[in-house]
């Protein structure tokens, strides 16, 4: 019984902003914008190469692949699902299958099948987390390990090469001067944003993450909603992997390593609470833009790789610290 009390107790705390506290909300939003502008300002002064169309297109292109994962990961955090650590497996699944199946069924069906299978991995995660109630960290870790193992076994552990250069040209090409991947990312982000902020599903997602029992009491299909967040991430990571495979024209099993942490970093820096119930896609993407610009400036300035990791670490710590501080004030 005490479990329930504790749960209710902490639920109250995860209500991040009360209505009276829109000031805090505004501050946290403006904070990120100011931070982004500060990086841009610093970059422009420090390095003449920074403020150029070419460089901004670079940053955008580089962030698109991980950006698609970020959209999915936002759902996972908002629904209170902590994190999806199976992303490397789903990315590998997307990349390897979308290239490996090309000779057999053609590029477009291969891409679709790859994403569908990544979605299946997401469904497994969702079933374990949403329905069996397994802790998301463990569930996604386990499913990811198994999935990656199977993918590796399936291709015998070697690199898969693309056989359809036309599909690569399509993905690498530009439409009105904007790289195709950036456009795909923007479309997915818009759809994600629409679902999360304007649809029933989005409202349910926020409600489930904010207060599970209350959402359940008001007839929200909490289990399905929770599972859904992982399916969305699975599909997003699958698309991401497919695009990655097509741009690189080669895929190896470990192609997705590290993307889970990059995505979590972006979402958290964007101020989406890991406690669930609060966050939006634009916030997460703002976080991503900030991290990417900062990394870009550091590389342009010749900062060594270890130092970059250090700065990123400090940044994440700062972001969660800020989140906690705001939550504390917001919740009274």
């Amino acid at each position: 019984m005490s479990d329930l009390v504790a749960a209710a107790e902490s639920m109250k705390k995860t209500e991040r902003f009360t209505r009276a506290n829109w000031v805090a909300e505004l501050a946290s939003r403006a904070g990120l914008l100011i931070a982004i502008l500060a990086v841009i300002a610093y970059g422009s002064i420090a390095n003449p190469a920074f403020f150029s169309t070419g460089n901004f297109v670079n940053v955008l292109t580089s962030m698109s692949i991980v950006g698609i994962v970020v959209v999915g990961m936002t759902f996972v955090l908002v629904v209170g699902g902590l994190a999806d650590l199976s992303v490397p497996a789903t990315i590998a699944c997307g990349a390897i299958l979308s290239l490996g199946l090309q000779p057999m069924i053609g590029p477009v069906p291969a891409f679709v099948v790859a994403i569908a299978l990544a979605g299946v991995i997401g469904m497994l995660n969702g079933a374990l987390v949403g329905y069996a109630g397994v802790n998301p960290i463990i569930a996604t870790l386990g499913v990811g390990t198994v999935g990656l193992g199977i993918v590796q076994a399936a291709v015998g552990g070697v690199i898969v090469y693309g056989t359809n250069p036309a599909s690569a040209e399509l993905v690498k090409g530009r439409i009105l001067g904007i790289p195709t991947v950036v456009i795909i990312f923007a479309v997915i982000a818009l759809i994600g944003h629409f679902i999360l902020s304007r649809s029933y599903w989005g409202r349910w997602t926020t409600a489930t993450g904010g207060n599970y029992s209350a959402a359940q009491a008001s007839a929200v299909p909490v289990r399905a909603v929770k599972a859904g967040a992982f399916v969305i991430t699975g599909i997003a990571a699958g698309i991401s992997g497919g695009l990655l495979g097509l741009t690189l024209q080669s895929a190896r099993p470990l192609v997705g390593t590290g993307y889970e942490f990059s995505a979590i970093t972006a979402v958290v820096v964007g101020g989406v609470s890991i406690m669930g119930g609060f966050g939006s896609v634009p916030r997460a993407i703002a976080g991503l833009i900030f991290v990417q610009l900062l990394t870009n400036v550091m590389v342009l300035e010749g900062v060594r790789t270890p130092v970059q990791g250090f700065v990123l670490g400090i940044l994440i710590a700062g972001a969660v610290g800020m989140d906690a501080a705001l939550r504390k004030r917001g919740g009274g």
Partner: protein, 311 residues
């Protein structure tokens, strides 16, 4: 959990069983990874050759984790194998494990990557390409392409990884040794990953622009990353000379169309085969050289059609 007697009985059975295997000699092969563009064909070649020679291979995969590998050496010793082939990922860390193998009278050789000189007393031989030498050859190739001067960027593998250390170290030392006027603008770690190399190359190109007069990538996949980034950023400008390592099909194609200057072919099949043959000789009581290199070939547009790509 189990009675002492039971354990003893099982141990006795184990001893008998291992005595039974003595005819087919077992060799422990601690490889870099099961699943890798270079390592997989090398492993396969080693297994196939060993089978022909009548050796039983016990294959353990480190998955690029040194710590795992040092512990796997203990597994080999405990398993009482007849010989050990180790793919070192660190110049020092395996020495105590190799010493233990020597105490147990198990001959050991290393394949593919060098270790520090302190390990020499514990090793019968080192077969395979020398990553340090590859770095040197890359330096020579780039030096030639650039006429001995200019500024370059180095796209390296994982920080702290043995192959990276060798390939970067050999390159830098050789430049110094030959008195080349090539200046290194920056060295970045792209972890042998094409996507990372692509992203970092974009940044490097933005940062240095036309100052990049040459590129040295620690492997061909990363060289490919730079090529793609350059084509995005400066589609109409001439590609600076790029030197990669490994000799992948992909790189051969790039050399043919003039995107890359050179690559260094090291054949994984040769690498694996030589190790199997060497350990077989040692087990037959033959003396072997303590250094058995596999041929390394520098491939440029001149000989690209006469050399076989490595994989």
């Amino acid at each position: 959990m189990t009675g002492n007697k039971f354990i003893l009985a099982m141990a006795a059975a184990a001893t008998l069983a291992s005595a039974g295997w003595a005819n087919a000699k077992t060799v422990c092969y601690v490889n870099a990874a099961d699943s890798h563009a270079y390592a997989t064909p090398a492993n396969e070649a080693l297994q196939a050759r060993a089978k022909e020679l009548g050796l039983e291979i016990l294959s353990l995969s480190q998955d690029f984790d040194v710590q795992k590998g040092t512990e796997q050496l203990n597994t080999c010793v405990a398993r009482g194998v007849d010989g050990i082939i180790l793919w070192p990922l660190d110049p020092q860390a395996y020495i105590p494990g190799l010493a233990r193998a020597q105490q147990a009278n198990i001959p050991a050789i290393i394949i593919n990557s060098p270790v520090s000189d302190d390990a020499k007393p514990f090793l019968k031989s080192f077969t395979g390409p020398d990553v340090y030498e590859e770095g040197e050859m890359a330096a020579d190739a780039l030096n030639e392409a650039m006429g001995g001067e200019g500024s370059v960027v180095v796209i390296a593998g994982q920080a702290g990884n043995g192959t990276t250390l060798g390939r970067v170290g050999g390159f830098m030392d050789r430049l110094k040794e030959t008195g080349s006027k090539i200046e290194v603008l920056d060295t970045v770690n792209a972890d042998f990953d094409q996507q990372k190399a692509l992203v970092m190359s974009r940044d490097l190109i933005t940062r240095f622009g036309d100052k990049i007069q040459g590129v040295y990538a620690n492997d061909d996949t990363m060289a490919r990353g730079f090529i793609d980034a350059w084509k995005e950023a400066k589609p109409s400008e001439k590609m600076p000379p790029i030197v990669g390592i490994n000799g992948q099909k992909d790189a051969f194609e790039s050399i043919r169309v003039g995107d890359m200057y050179a690559t260094i072919v090291q054949s994984p099949a040769e690498d694996g085969k030589l190790a199997a043959e060497t350990i077989a000789k040692i087990l037959d009581g033959e003396e072997v050289d303590d250094r058995l290199p596999i041929p390394l070939t520098v491939v440029t547009s001149e000989n690209v059609d006469s050399v076989e790509p490595a994989f």
